[in-house]
Amino acid sequence: MEKKEYNKIVDKYTPSEPKLKNAFIAFIIGGFMGVLGNFLVDIYSYYFNLSTKDASVFMIITLIFLGCFFTCLGFFDKWVNFAKCGLIIPITGFAHAMMSAALEYRKEGLVTGIGANMFKLAGSVIIFGVVSAYLFGLLRLFVMGG
């Protein structure tokens, strides 16, 4: 009887276990990405005497460089498989998408390969971002007055 109840509980929780684990890992890794971003902003604004706004631009460029560089070295795909959204949602995911498209289509040539396909995965972010920012900008202009 006790064993049956135990098995029931196991059955109840087994399918949802990877989801919980994935969510937990994404939360932790994503959180550390946020801490790293804030740390870089502090470092840049302290050592280069930049305003927070300029330092955050430097931070985004640094994270994009790291994302591209580790994708090239082959680490990043494994990390993305492990952390999933913890690394896809931060700006490194954008860099990873562009870098892997560029690497993948490189053998098709510079223009028809890299040039034509670099935005294959990341282009939707820019296109939907621009269109939605335009529409929401219009909304904000009429609702809030700019």
Binding site: K19, N22, A23, A26, F27, I28, G30, G31, G34, V35, L36, G37, N38, F39, V41, T52, S56, V57, M59, I60, L63, I64, F65, C68, F69, C72, G74, K84, C85, G86, I88, I89, P90, I91, G93, F94, A97, M98, M99, A101, A102, L103, R106, K107, M118, L121, S124, V125, I126, G129, S132, A133, Y134, F136, G137, L138, R140, L141, M144, G146
Partner: protein, 116 residues
């Protein structure tokens, strides 16, 4: 304290993305696109600015900040040029990220070989 807020905010955004990824059939591409649109939407009523004040750099790391920066760049030129400004300044703040991503991926893809 900002570090703690940055951890919580960025972690929660990633957690939300992971929950959507696990429970629906959407691909990571869909999710990043949705998050950019949500980031732009949250800026219609200045909500995302409060997150940036609260979490500092932590709010600028997730892709939602991309939508936020697009709309902010557009709004800066709207002050001077009216509706036409929406076309002029949209990439003002995000150009650094896009240019960096294009330049780094182009140059690095010439140097490195693809790996499986």
């Amino acid at each position: 304290m900002t570090y703690f807020n940055a951890f919580i905010f960025c972690g929660l955004v990633c957690l939300l993305g992971q929950i959507i990824l696990d429970n629906t059939k959407l691909t990571p591409g869909h999710i990043t696109t949705i998050f950019v649109v949500v980031g732009a939407f949250l800026d219609v009523f200045n909500i995302y600015d409060k997150f940036v004040l609260w979490a500092g750099g932590g709010a600028l790391v997730p892709i939602t900040s991309f939508g936020h920066l697009l709309i902010h760049g557009a709004m800066d030129t709207v002050h001077n040029f009216g509706v036409m400004g929406l076309f002029m300044g949209m990439f003002d703040l995000t150009s650094s990220g896009i240019v960096a991503a294009i330049v780094f991926s182009f140059i690095l893809s010439l140097i490195f070989q693809p790996r499986d």
